[in-house]
């Protein structure tokens, strides 16, 4: 009974979110912020993968920006240099990124140790180097321009208004897919690993394999987001996909909540607003604030800020109903 009520409550929370998403790009509502909202949608796709990864494998990836970049460059190169259909390019880039993530994940998760953070850091650095060095393919530091718009038949996603809905369609679809997965047998296995890896193994869950799968999933989400980025800005260059962006994504995930899906929107929104509205300069203050956020949240709300807030709200609500029952 309680479970069913909880589920309905969750849907009630999502309804206003959906209304917001649908109304946002209209000029009379939040039209001025459409570009910001587009980026929020794109980045949420990357963040949710990271949230799941950190929540269920207990390791941190500092290379999500690299997978994002692979998706962006993959789409850019395939569509501009080889005239591939943009949708096909997006899927291909995601497949390549996924395969790549599988190799990395396989190597790392078989070991008992926290190699992922450093390994993905190194990976991120190398991939940026590749973007800069493989001049013939990527145009080096100059970047690739003239990336085509996405379209379905005659309907072209060119205006910000249309692109907004495209991005948020993908974003919400990603979140729903993730949600369905978490509620399923796979999700139970992941939660089991999170609860007690030894016990999970004892009931037939190959924890290493699951961790790799979650890592690949996150990489694929990031790649799709990167492709969407390419088809929204129509230009890619190596600079955007470096360490700083990876750190920003970790901050988004930490604020959103480890193992949280819908919290990813919250985390992404907070960091995006912070970075776009408050921290205009790319100076030391960005680093200081992000660093403090990471440290403070992990000390005081280690499940992640959004999750922590939600749990506190739940506890407060429980206390109120109990008090109400007594009187």
């Amino acid at each position: 009974m309680l479970a069913r009520l909880k589920a309905r409550g969750a849907y009630l929370a999502i309804a206003p979110l959906l209304v917001l998403v649908v109304l946002a790009p209209f000029d009379w509502f939040l039209g001025d912020y459409t570009t910001l909202l587009i980026f929020m949608g794109i980045h949420t796709m990357v963040t949710v993968g990271l949230c799941l990864l950190m929540g269920y494998t207990g390791q941190v990836s500092l290379g999500q920006a690299a997978f994002y970049g692979l998706g962006a460059y993959g789409s850019a190169i395939l569509t501009t240099k080889y005239d591939v259909n943009p949708w096909l390019a997006m899927v291909s880039a995601a497949a390549i990124t996924g395969a790549f993530a599988y190799i990395v994940g396989y190597l790392i998760f078989r070991l008992k140790g926290n190699y992922l953070a450093m390994a993905t850091l190194g990976l991120g650095l190398v991939i940026v180097i590749l973007f800069e060095q493989l001049d013939g393919l990527t145009n080096g530091v100059r970047g690739i321009t003239g990336i085509p718009r996405l379209s379905i038949g005659d309907f072209v996603f060119d205006t910000a208004f249309r692109r907004y809905f495209l991005v948020w369609f993908f974003c919400l679809a990603t979140l729903l897919l993730a949600q369905n997965m978490v509620r399923s047998r796979t999700g139970r296995a992941l939660r089991a690993i999170h609860g007690s890896e030894a016990a999970a193994e004892s009931i037939g869950v190959n924890s290493a394999q699951f961790k790799v799968k979650i890592f690949v999933l996150g990489a694929v989400f990031a790649s799709l987001a990167g492709s969407l980025y390419a088809h929204n800005v129509f230009y890619v260059s190596p600079g955007r996909f470096g360490f700083l962006f990876s750190v920003m994504l970790v901050v988004m995930a930490v604020i959103g909540g480890l193992a949280s899906i819908w919290g990813a929107i919250f985390g992404t929104a907070v960091v995006r607003l912070l970075s776009d509205k408050l921290l205009i300069e790319l100076g030391g203050w960005d680093m200081i604030i992000y660093g403090l956020i990471l440290i403070a949240v992990m000390i005081f709300v280690p499940q992640g800020l959004f999750v922590g807030l939600r749990d506190t709200y739940e506890r407060w609500r429980l206390r109120r109903t109990r008090r109400g029952a007594v009187t």
Binding site: V60, R110, M118, V247, W285, M287, G291, L294, I299
Partner: protein, 302 residues
């Protein structure tokens, strides 16, 4: 490949690798005593070099005291990192600790960047070079030129390595640290306070990093973001040592340094020297491959 290219690579590699070895030792010590991978390890190297320049160039402190002060400040930062950030995170999961140290690393970078922002602007760049220890005129040996600073780097590292060995083998504190690293519970049952040990480990790691920093900065210059690559390469050195063996860590660091120098000087097929930075990751992948194979074999054998 000419002889002087080989000699040059080896010599430069020895000095570069020594720094990686020191960083790697920092990682290893903290990990064996506390089980934490301190992401901010690389930043201590940056702090060492950066602070020695700041004290000498900006605040007029004479060279030698500036060096000592730089190491001391970095050590205090390391201790503070443990006391404020890590000790406060009670019952923290592994993820939390990793994120905390990542946060600490960018926090340190941000603070350095902001405190001396105007000085960097006045300097034209944030790439700074503290003064050489004994001058910069290179000596000549076997057709290669050796900058004296490199000798300082290697010499300091050897000295530090020996000092560490003596410390761990013959002093009470050192032995207590070793006990904690082998068996934390057992050590605490013998009256060794694990928190004190952790504090010492962090402080030591910071000092090691800073020493590496003060000795390499005159040679390589240093800049705010320097900690990133140094940390990564030091991590690879520690990974080669399995986060256990100090000897292998040092050997790994030096090996990595030499390999990197060769990669910078030689174009290998389609890979130009621009890829030299990636050597660290390639080695890491190899280490992971070997170790995951070894791990499986170990399980079979044990």
């Amino acid at each position: 490949m000419s002889l002087d290219l080989i000699v040059q690579s080896v010599i430069s590699g020895l000095s570069q690798g020594s720094v990686y070895a020191l960083v790697g030792l920092g990682f290893t010590i903290v990990f064996t005593v506390t089980g934490i991978i301190n992401f901010a390890q690389g930043e201590f190297v940056m702090l060492g070099g950066m602070l020695s320049w700041v004290f000498f160039r900006l605040y007029g402190v004479p060279q030698v005291p500036a060096l000592i002060l730089a190491v001391m400040v970095a050590t205090v930062v390391g201790a503070l990192l443990y006391l404020l950030a890590i000790r406060s995170a009670r019952k923290a999961s592994v993820v939390s600790l990793i994120i905390i140290t990542i946060g600490a690393s960018i926090l340190i970078r941000g603070i350095v960047s902001e405190i001396w922002r105007e000085d960097f602007v006045r300097n034209g760049t944030d790439v700074v070079r503290p003064p050489y220890f004994t001058g910069e005129n290179p000596l000549h040996f076997l057709g290669a030129s050796i900058e004296p600073q490199r000798l300082w780097i290697v010499g300091t590292t050897i000295f530090v390595a020996i000092a560490l060995h003596l410390f761990f083998s013959y002093t009470m504190v050192g032995k207590a640290l070793r006990a904690s690293s082998v068996n934390r519970v057992g050590a605490s049952l013998s009256g060794i306070n694990p928190r004190t040990m952790a504090l010492i480990a962090f402080a030591m790691a910071a000092a090691l990093g800073a020493i590496g920093g003060i000795v390499v900065a005159p040679q390589n210059t240093t800049y705010v973001e320097a900690g990133l690559m140094l940390g990564l390469n030091g991590f690879v050195a520690a990974a080669i040592g399995g986060f256990r063996s100090q000897l292998l860590t040092v050997a790994g660091g030096i090996g990595l340094g030499i390999l990197e120098q060769f990669a910078i000087r030689v174009d290998w097929g389609p890979l130009s020297s621009g890829y030299a930075d990636a050597i660290g990751l390639v080695v890491l992948v190899l280490v992971l491959l070997v170790r995951s194979g070894k791990l499986a074999a170990q399980e079979r054998a044990s």
